[in-house]
């Protein structure tokens, strides 16, 4: 695969990029800090020298004017790409966002508007070459309005709906949209939070997501148990949701 990867510097993205590079996929890395990108590219090159990273370019989900240039650079370096992966995202606790409106706005802007607009750019380019795979990390937080993730969940809900729509509209034209819905995964993003039962590890998530990308699965819950957890949550009546803290 020839992959444009936004978010490979940390967390699940780091783990997934390593897996892809290990099996020989060609990667072009996008992210907000040039030095971080260089360090991640060097890491991948040292691990798998025969499949070194093709290049890197700055791209900030909070700044939509960076998207086109980043994808141009990727296209030039890879000689066209067939896969776009977005693991980049921002999280803040409900408490923090209630106390700080600017932070809430930033999370909403990155996780919803920025991500959707980036995907629009990517989608057009993939469709122009006859299709490909667009794999984007949303969250189980978008499945139901829940007390601990009202704002973050709203952004991810919007993102999930958008991706679902893309899949409905463009699959016939060859664009496979893969929506990844992680439950709790132990990364830097969740470092300050108490892990619930079934908390996942990034490497296991990466393995599962890669299988989903290869199989063109429209939706992946990861760790898989979250599919069943969310099934229950979606069916809980409102009066119960008002009572519980989950």
């Amino acid at each position: 695969m020839r992959v444009v990867f936004l978010g490979a510097t940390k967390g699940m993205g780091r783990a997934l990029a390593r897996r892809m590079s290990e099996r020989g996929d060609q990667l072009f890395l996008l992210g907000r800090e040039a030095e971080e990108l260089q360090r991640s590219a060097a890491d991948l090159a040292a691990r798998h020298p025969q499949h070194a990273v093709v290049g890197t370019h700055a791209c900030d989900l909070a700044v939509s004017s960076t998207f086109a240039a980043a994808l141009d650079a990727a296209e030039a370096a890879l000689g066209g790409f067939d896969t776009v992966v977005v693991t980049a995202g921002l999280f803040a606790t409900q408490e923090a966002m209630e106390a700080d409106a600017a932070l809430a706005e930033q999370v909403l802007a990155v996780d919803f508007t920025g991500t959707v607009v980036f995907c629009e750019h990517a989608r057009k380019r993939l469709l122009a070459r006859g299709g490909g795979t667009l794999c984007v990390f949303s969250s189980v937080a978008g499945e139901r309005g829940r007390k601990p993730v009202v704002l973050y969940g709203a952004a991810k809900a919007g993102l999930s709906r958008y991706l679902e729509g893309l899949d409905h509209k463009f699959r016939a034209q060859g664009l496979k949209t893969v929506t990844v819905k992680p439950g709790f995964v132990k990364t830097g993003m969740t470092a300050g939070l108490k892990p619930p039962p079934f908390a996942g590890e990034p490497e296991a998530v990466a393995q599962q997501v890669l299988r989903a990308i290869d199989g063109g699965l429209p939706v992946v819950y990861t760790p898989s148990i979250w599919r069943w957890v969310m099934l229950v949550i979606r069916w809980l009546p409102r009066f119960v949701m008002r009572k519980i803290g989950f």
């Binding site: 040292a46 691990r47 470092a191």
Partner: protein, 445 residues
Amino acid sequence: MSDRGEPTVAGWGNLAVPGRELLSEDLERATRAAVLSRGLGRSYGDSSLPPPSHREVVGTRLADRILHWDGQTGLLRAEAGFSLWEFNRLFLRRGWFIGSTPGTQFVTLGGMVASDVHGKGHHSHGCFGSRHVRSLRMRLPSGDLVECSPERDPELFWATVGGMGLTGHILEVECQTQAIPSPWIWSESERVDDIDQFIAGLKEAGKSWPFTVGWIDCLSRGKHMGRGLLDRGRWATPEETGGRSLPVTRRLTLPVMFPEWVLRWKLTTQAFNTMWYWRHVPRVKKKLCHPDSFFYPLDAILQWNRIYGRRGFTQYQCVLPEEAGHGAARRFLDLLTRRGGASFLCVIKDAAAEGQGMLSFLRPGISIAVDFAVRDDTQRLIDALNELVIAEGGRIYLSKDAFTRPDHYAAMDPRLPQFLAVRDRIDPQRVVRSAQSVRMFGDPP
């Protein structure tokens, strides 16, 4: 979790204190005002735990990127949370091995420097920090970011090697790795009848074998005291391996928890096998073996530390110096077996040159390591062992310790004032400290 649901952190001995790990890929940021860094928590005692007044220690294991690799010379530079397990997974098959490996591969480069770890190859390859580390990038207690090496601020460098995290946070490690002729080990195991034979055997084997270690049966006393198995090994030649490639480990990630009964069963089986082996194998057994089973036999049982139950356990490791003579190990074992309470196995190793770190553990002599489940009399037992070690002129390994009294440690290690003087220079307020340094070096709680 503690009984009150408060989060806790613990070392490998499961002796927990209230606190938690702040995990981050970005060590430069995470260490800005941090009291201590820890890696994979494989030190047994309290060296990786926060002082009582703090609840948070930086966890480095997400900071695991390789920054530079030179496939010609084997020079590696990586972030401090890069694990030895990952190194082995990536580089063994490419013909490289770490300069010095401890008995588990679930450790980070930062932790290997801070403990100046040693292994079966101590007599041939020395300790990790002392012999193989070329340079460190650090966040000092003052907040400054610096690079240090044996040439650049050597005092800071040598205080950091073996310094148990007390000189600041290691962010990046540059080290020299070793080229190997094949990824397999050629090993020989020999039954040994008593402690004197053991010491002689280790010294003799060390002349021609790069890796040696002994496993002593701690249940035998009297004439058979100190009997056990002596393992020696070297990298196999390509001819000996017949070109066989090393099987790939299936494990995806560093170990997760196992239910306790599985462990108990596995460990009991292993113990049984070992005993059986001692009685029935030919005197010398030779074979080609996987480096995992040669260097890291205990890693196969993953969370074996949990079988010791809720009170946890501790390891006692000391070095008895050459000057104390052959009799020292016998006197130590005699006290140990008389007092009881130790596990059925203990590990014995001859040590060569003293590490260059100011607090590096090893010095020429014999190192002995033994596990104890924590009981009411553990403190008394360790006091007694320490008194013997002091009398013999030896010292203990801080990385394993949770019980040694400050005056005992001070009596063992004449280098301590020099180390503390470096801390006075770079950290007069003792911003960076651990539960161990509070207990042992009188740091503010």
